[in-house]
């Protein structure tokens, strides 16, 4: 019985050395069932003191702070911050537009990556990272609808599951990003970490509204905005025939020069709006150009987070 380990390609050797040094810390409080290295909103067993509370009948006397009683004759209960594990859900956009593979993209395993592949490597790395630090990692992939949903779990087999899922996912179909994000927001248990990896190609207003939904559900949001270099610079010169990756029937024949200015203007407005919107939502917005190595961007981000 041979085991198919090709999914392990998603954790390329060249990046594992960097990944090994990283850890992902949640900001704010996360609810979880296993004690871990993240703070939980619940008070519980921990070494870290949280606050005093007046004794009330029924409280465990073990938590009575005798030292305070000795000083002030009052009964106070010592409360400790409960440390919990992180429930991170990685939301990966697998729609058609993510299949774009530019000329300037960086190489992983000697192969230029598409936007989706870049996102997939990133998702794999993150999943690996979370499980390794004993946090729960989940995965949602979607195109026109949610394609796969793996609830966040901290078990070791989770990495394997996520990686296999990622490995078997290919970009296809049309994104209607906003409604799907709403759905994802509903389905993920509250107070988790949501990492959205997408090109966000939809109406920015609607996307921001959907992101707001995550915040409403008390999720911490990290958004990896994947764009290809070509999409950012529109460098085409010759008369071209642009075929929509999401709807192959949709084509545009155009002289690229004629609309470059308008295109760049629209794109800039889009990126700006998303970034500003994310800022307002206190979501982490990480632009990820496929020409850069994902582990660099990731490690830089994580380094900043600390």
């Amino acid at each position: 019985m041979s085991r198919d380990t090709s999914y392990m390609d998603l954790l390329p050797a060249e990046s594992t050395s960097i990944l090994a040094r990283l850890e992902f810390l949640a900001r704010g409080k996360k609810e979880g069932s296993i004690s871990g290295r993240h703070r939980s909103p619940k008070k519980g067993f921990s070494v870290e003191f949280a606050e005093h509370r007046e004794y009330a009948p029924g409280d465990d006397l073990r938590n009575l702070d005798w030292r305070v009683y000795g000083k002030s004759d009052r009964y106070y209960i010592k409360q400790y911050v409960e440390e919990t594990n992180l429930r991170a859900t990685i939301v990966l956009d697998a729609s058609g537009s993510m299949a774009y593979r530019g000329e300037h993209a960086s190489e992983v395993n000697s192969r230029r990556v598409s936007k989706f592949e870049q996102g997939r490597y990133l998702a794999a790395a993150l999943a690996h990272l979370f499980v390794r630090q004993q946090d729960a990692a989940g995965l949602v992939t979607f195109d026109t609808e949610i394609r796969a949903y793996h609830r966040a779990a901290a078990k070791h087999s989770q990495t394997h599951q996520i990686l296999t899922e990622l490995h078997n996912t290919n970009p296809r179909g049309e994104t209607d990003l906003a409604p799907i994000l709403h759905e994802v927001a509903e389905r993920i248990p509250q107070r988790g970490l949501v990492i959205l990896i997408s090109d966000l190609f939809d109406s920015p207003d609607e996307i921001l509204e959907a992101l707001h939904h995550f915040r409403y559900r008390n999720h911490e949001l990290v958004i990896f905005h994947i764009m290809a270099e070509e999409e950012l610079t529109f460098p085409f010169k010759k008369f071209s025939h642009f075929r929509d990756l999401e709807q192959p029937k949709n084509r545009i024949r155009i002289e690229p020069d004629t609309i470059r200015a308008a295109y760049l203007e629209k794109l800039r407005a889009f990126v700006d709006q998303i970034e500003i919107g994310c800022g307002k939502l206190q979501a982490d917005y990480i632009p990820l150009n496929t020409k850069l190595k994902f582990e660099q961007v990731l490690s830089h981000y994580l380094a900043q987070r600390k």
Binding site: I18, T233, D244, R253, I254, D257, A261, Y263, V271, L288
Partner: protein, 810 residues
């Protein structure tokens, strides 16, 4: 030529090829593309359409310019319809190809473009069809080549080596040589009458060339109208369907009759119009300018009837018709062997007309030829001389039949008439008119009326029937009759007598106290009385009628030559057969009026007698007519035309010709073939016929006559635009500027103003526009396209960080 328009497709093909070879890209960020497109499409399409239209127009106009189109003067279709339509069609086509993606618009534009091209094609075809109709048989046509052989064609414009006539012959040769080998030509030398050299068009080039060799400039005007008429008849004899008329002329307006609508309508109806009317190509050679010319334009005599009895004044008119002053050395007047010379002439400034007077006494009767010659060298030598022929008479026999042969001379009805006719009688002088008096009662004694040129019935009551009949025949044969009825006249006789011009009505006797009627001078319009009707020279206004007849002139073809101030007829004139009859309303004696005491009585009687006796009945100085025919004996008539004889004629060039003597209902005429030219002709009359023409023969036994050269011929007045426009109403008149144009027209191609220069300028302009447009569009598009979106650099790892990372990796 329009295949070049395929070149228009070049930018379109490049454009479409560019699109076909479009590099295909799978694209994710479609929403931005679509958005950008939505906001820019219209502008882009507009820019593309403009650019493409400009480029296509450049190619189209280059193609058109290379095709060297012409704007023909005869038709507005090529430049008013075809050219703009082509350009619009090209533009639409270009716009359609630029908007290829917009299927609906593209279809519409292509449809419109195709429709315009189709219409253009139809217009071209129609134009060609018109041309083809004109020139069916592709250059095989009958061409009438009219060569102006007028006097002025011998001038050399601008001191050229060639005269205009020589140049015309050369151009004619060129036209014949270079036209289609099947084209047939008729050559017409157009002088005062057109001379059709080959009445059936020929195709043989060498024969045509030989024929051209024999052409020589004629003298006199070109009668263009007649020439075209002759050409139309000649063309009708040709086999080809295409007909053209080419006139090579110096473009004088004389002879074209370009104000005579009736004639031109007739001409237009005479032209062969199947399958279409010929065009009239007027190839104008330049008129000489400056022009130095003195012309002898006429010889006139102080009297109409010139006898051997006394001197006559001869007036020679000279006119400077040029643009520069000239001074003749002398002017000579040659009369027979005599030469009169006037050397007293000064300078003639341009436009000056001067009359020289010579006095001469002719001593010999018969025809005399006078030639006036101005001795100088100028641009037009031919009009330096002018000839005229005049019959000199030695005797005019007049028979007066006196109805009142009273014993007293002055009581006779014939007395004053006799005195008036021969005033020298009393002085025993020789006189031209020889009156013979026969009293009415002795009338039967007259054997014959021949030998008298005129008979006067002076108050004759009636004539015996045989005499009346004989007199009537005499008049019909050409004799003259003057009837002066007085109180003795019997109306019943005159009213039933054939020669009588009028019915005698009421006989009016004016009472002493009544106002006597007088002749009204203003009514003296007839040639017979015109000279005595001149108010400042005539005293007939003081004439008082005492007794007169009322003349009823209806029904006899009679003209009232003069009237009384009461409106009644004073003098009535009619012709009967070859003769003329005049009737006065009163007798010409003292009983009917005071006419005999008027000073104008003498010329009055003379004029009446000259008119009926008609000593100059043979008009020896002719205005040119279509065929040169000279009436030589009006009295010898026949019921139908028949050839009587053939005489030899010497023409103005000294060449011998034949004169066919024809007996016609209008009398005997001499018809001379071979074209008319101005100058002196002399018909040799054989001995047997000399008696018949005795009064008009020269001493050498010839009958001379001249064809008049009009003074206008020397004045070189060119055809005006209005005259050309007039002709254009009946013809398509073209004015080719060179023989090359003539060939172009004959070949059926359009010709006229060349348009390629305008097109080339248009191309240049469009090139500039294209460059400007392309630059402007490029600049517009560049704006903002260099923008760099600050994406990953803002939050992404800095260089430093990346280096650290590498170190870690290592």
């Amino acid at each position: 030529m329009l295949f070049g328009l395929v070149g228009v497709a070049i930018p379109v093909v490049i454009h479409l090829f560019n699109r076909k070879s479009a590099h295909s890209t799978d694209w994710g960020a479609m929403q931005f593309l679509t958005d950008s497109m939505a906001s820019r499409t219209r502008r882009i399409q507009l820019e593309d359409a403009l650019l493409m239209a400009t480029r296509c127009l450049i190619f189209g106009m280059i193609a058109l310019a290379l095709a060297r189109p012409f704007a023909p003067p005869g038709s507005t279709i090529p430049y008013a319809v075809v050219l703009p339509a082509l350009l619009i069609g090209i533009s639409l086509f270009a716009v359609a190809s630029a908007l290829w993606q917009n299927r609906k618009l593209r279809a519409w534009l292509l449809f419109a473009s195709a429709a315009i091209f189709l219409l253009t094609g139809v217009a071209i075809f129609y134009e060609n069809y018109l041309n083809l109709r004109r020139l069916s048989g592709a250059g095989e046509q009958d061409i009438a080549l009219i060569i102006d052989a007028s006097t002025s064609m011998s001038a050399r414009p601008d001191a050229a080596q060639q005269s205009n006539f020589e140049r015309a012959i050369e151009e004619a040769r060129d036209i014949i040589l270079k036209s289609g080998s099947h084209s047939a030509f008729t050559i017409i030398a157009a002088g005062p009458s057109p001379l059709v050299r080959n009445p059936i068009p020929w195709t043989d080039r060498s024969e045509l060339n030989d024929l051209l060799d024999t052409l020589a400039p004629s003298d006199g005007q070109m009668r263009g109208y007649q020439a075209v008429l002759a050409a139309s008849h000649a063309l009708a004899a040709g086999d080809h369907e295409g007909k053209q008329i080419i006139v090579i002329t110096d473009g004088q307006d004389i002879g074209w009759q370009a104000d005579d609508a009736a004639s031109w309508e007739f001409l237009a109806s005479e032209l062969p119009d199947r399958p279409h009317k010929p065009q009239l190509l007027i190839r104008q050679l330049p008129l000489p300018n400056p022009f130095r010319n003195l012309a002898v334009t006429g010889i006139e005599f102080s009297r109409d009837v010139i006898g051997v009895d006394r001197e006559v004044q001869i007036q020679v008119t000279l006119e400077n018709t040029g643009t520069e002053a000239v001074t003749p050395n002398s002017v000579q007047l040659r009369i027979g062997n005599q030469t009169l010379t006037d050397t007293s002439l000064g300078q003639f400034p341009p436009g000056l007309e001067n009359t020289l007077t010579f006095n001469h006494h002719f001593h010999q009767s018969g025809a005399q030829v006078l030639t006036a010659v101005a001795d100088l060298s100028d641009d037009l030598a031919m009009d330096n001389s002018f000839s005229t022929a005049i019959p000199i008479i030695d005797r005019l026999g007049v028979l007066i039949i006196d109805g009142n042969p009273a014993p007293r001379f002055f009581a006779r009805a014939s007395a004053f008439v006799e005195l008036a006719l021969a005033p020298g009688m009393l002085a025993q002088q020789a006189h031209l008119i020889e009156p013979t008096i026969v009293p009415a009662p002795q009338i039967v004694s007259i054997q014959s009326f021949e030998g008298y040129q005129a008979i006067i019935l002076a108050d004759v009551p009636r004539l015996p029937a045989p005499i009346a009949r004989e007199l009537s025949d005499y008049v019909k044969r050409g004799g003259g009759l003057l009837i002066a009825p007085g109180r003795r006249a019997i109306p019943a006789f005159y009213n039933s007598w054939e020669p009588s011009p009028a019915q005698l009505g009421k006989f009016t006797i004016v009472d002493q106290d009544q106002l006597a009627p007088a002749p009204s001078l203003a009514t003296f319009t007839h040639p017979a009385v015109r000279k005595v009707g001149t108010p400042d020279q005539s005293d007939f206004a003081s004439l008082k009628m005492a007794a007169y007849w009322q003349l009823d002139t209806t029904d006899r073809g009679t003209a009232v030559a003069a009237k009384l101030d009461t409106g009644q007829a004073f003098v009535a004139v009619r012709t009967l057969g070859a003769g003329k009859v005049i009737m006065t309303n009163c007798s010409l004696d003292t009983q009917s009026s005071n006419i005999a005491s008027r000073e104008s009585f003498l010329p009055f009687v003379h004029e009446l007698v000259y008119h009926i006796a008609d000593p100059n009945a043979l008009q020896l100085n002719l205005n040119p007519t279509a065929d040169l025919s000279l009436p030589i004996d009006p009295s010898a008539t026949s019921t139908k035309d028949q050839s009587v004889d053939t005489y030899t004629v010497t023409d103005p060039r000294g060449q011998l010709r034949q004169a066919e003597i024809l007996s016609t209902p209008q009398g005997t005429i001499a018809r001379i073939s071979g074209g008319t030219m101005a100058g002196l002709y002399e018909i040799e009359i054989p001995d047997v016929a000399r008696e018949q023409f005795a009064t008009v023969l020269t001493s050498a036994g010839t009958l001379p006559f001249t064809v008049i050269r009009p003074a206008e011929e020397s004045r070189l007045e060119p055809l005006t635009r209005a005259e050309i426009a007039f002709m254009s109403r009946y013809f398509e008149v073209l004015q080719p500027a060179s023989t090359k144009d003539v060939h172009t027209i004959l070949a059926g191609r359009s010709y006229g103003r060349e348009l390629w220069k305008h097109l080339a300028l248009g191309v240049l302009f469009l090139l500039i526009v294209e460059v400007a447009l392309a630059r402007w569009i490029a600049t517009k598009r560049k704006t903002g396209s260099q923008e760099v979106i600050d994406f990953e650099t803002r939050r992404g790892p800095k260089k430093q960080f990346q280096e650290q990372l590498k170190k870690i990796k290592a």
